[in-house]
């Protein structure tokens, strides 16, 4: 699986910061600002990881997780959120909802390079295991 990450983030500055962290961790980062662009990217190339922000304009990405899973089966998903100042519970609610939806990684903002590095290591390990399982299945 390619070491390419799709980052859904509607803040341009945040998208740059996050993509730099993934690039430093050895990933190619593709940033998109909304779901339409994200799905367009998923149609044209494969990704090793999806990093999705929860609150994108008026949408809640967690309500659309099934769409991403259909478009990119098996691809690990990381959910990031800074919450909402107007609604202090929104961040915790979103992270709990994401965990219940069995996403692979939770990244509460602000997060740092060490967090991204750890996620990347786990993703690499996931694909390594997945590759080994596939090889075993093929051999069996």
């Amino acid at each position: 699986m390619s070491r390419r990450v799709l980052i859904l983030e509607d803040s341009r500055t945040q998208a740059i910061i996050i993509s730099k962290m993934f690039q430093r961790a050895g990933y190619e980062a593709i940033c998109v600002v909304d779901q339409t662009d994200a799905l367009a990217q998923l149609r044209t190339q494969s990704f090793g990881l999806l990093v999705l922000d929860v609150f994108i304009e008026a949408r809640n990405t967690l309500d659309d997780l099934e769409v991403y899973r259909e478009m990119a089966p098996q691809v690990p998903i990381a959910i990031m959120t800074a919450g909402q100042l107007d609604n202090p519970d929104a961040g915790a609610t979103a992270l709990n909802k994401a965990r219940r939806a069995r996403v692979n990684f939770l990244l509460p903002k602000p997060f740092f390079y060490d967090d991204v590095k750890q996620v990347c290591e786990d993703v690499d390990a996931f694909w390594a295991r997945s590759g080994a399982d596939n090889s075993l299945s093929a051999a069996g």
Binding site: T13, I16, I17, K20, R24, L85, D86, P110, F112, Y113
Partner: protein
């Protein structure tokens, strides 16, 4: 002997007095209508004033002044403090990283990795921008609410803006010395104007025509 009661007769009034009394009665009758009209108009005025006061009180109540002073303004103040704190922290991290990079030995074999580490710290420090955007939006929201409420009150009680108050000496000094902070959208005085003023092609013959303090002051008025 029985004395027969003397027949009662109308008291005799002085004719002048009688005339004066009749005139007074006519005057009272005329004034009565006037006073009735006057009372009605006055009471109407008072009712109208009372209505206006009630309307103003209702409007002031709907402004929820306690909500503004006890909740919204303190929240906005706390957000501003948080922005100042976050900005200061980020600035410190960025300056420290820059200083570390300046101090690196360019010939060291790991210099690239160390520069990358410091640059990553700079990127991480910029993460505060996300929350700051939300904080600023919250402050703008509070200001907009206050503006709307005050405008509604002014409209309801029919207030026009009074002429602006005279500047105090301190305010004039702040204005003249440009101590009111940066202007939105850039300095009011264009750099080109300043450059022209200090242009170096002034010859000795023009020395007496050189810019006086007044010319310089005029640029900033």
């Amino acid at each position: 002997m029985t004395l027969a009661a003397a027949p009662k007769s109308e008291p005799e009034f002085d004719p002048m007095l009688q005339t004066a009394m009749r005139t007074s009665e006519e005057l009272v009758s005329l004034m009565n209508a006037f006073f009735v009209r006057l009372d009605t108009r006055r009471s109407g005025d008072f009712i109208s004033i009372a209505d206006e006061i009630n309307k103003a009180k209702t409007e002031i109540r709907s402004l929820r002044p306690q909500d503004i002073s006890e909740t919204r303004l303190p929240t906005a103040g706390a957000e501003l403090l948080a922005i100042t704190r976050d900005t200061e922290n980020a600035t410190n991290v960025i300056m420290t990283a820059a200083e570390t990079m300046l101090g690196l030995d360019a010939s060291a074999p790991d210099v690239k990795d160390r520069v990358d580490d410091e640059v990553m710290k700079i990127f991480e420090a910029c993460s505060f921008q996300d929350i700051t955007g939300q904080r600023v939006s919250k402050i703008v929201q509070v200001l907009t609410q206050i503006e709307q409420r005050v405008s509604r009150l002014a409209e309801a009680i029919g207030l026009d803006d009074a002429s602006p108050p005279e500047l105090t000496a301190e305010e004039k000094r702040q204005r003249d010395l440009l101590l009111n902070g940066p202007a939105i959208g850039g300095p009011e005085t264009q750099q080109a104007d300043i450059d022209n003023l200090f242009s170096s092609d002034v010859t000795a013959a023009d020395a007496d025509k050189q810019n006086s303090q007044d010319d310089i002051d005029a640029l900033f008025d």
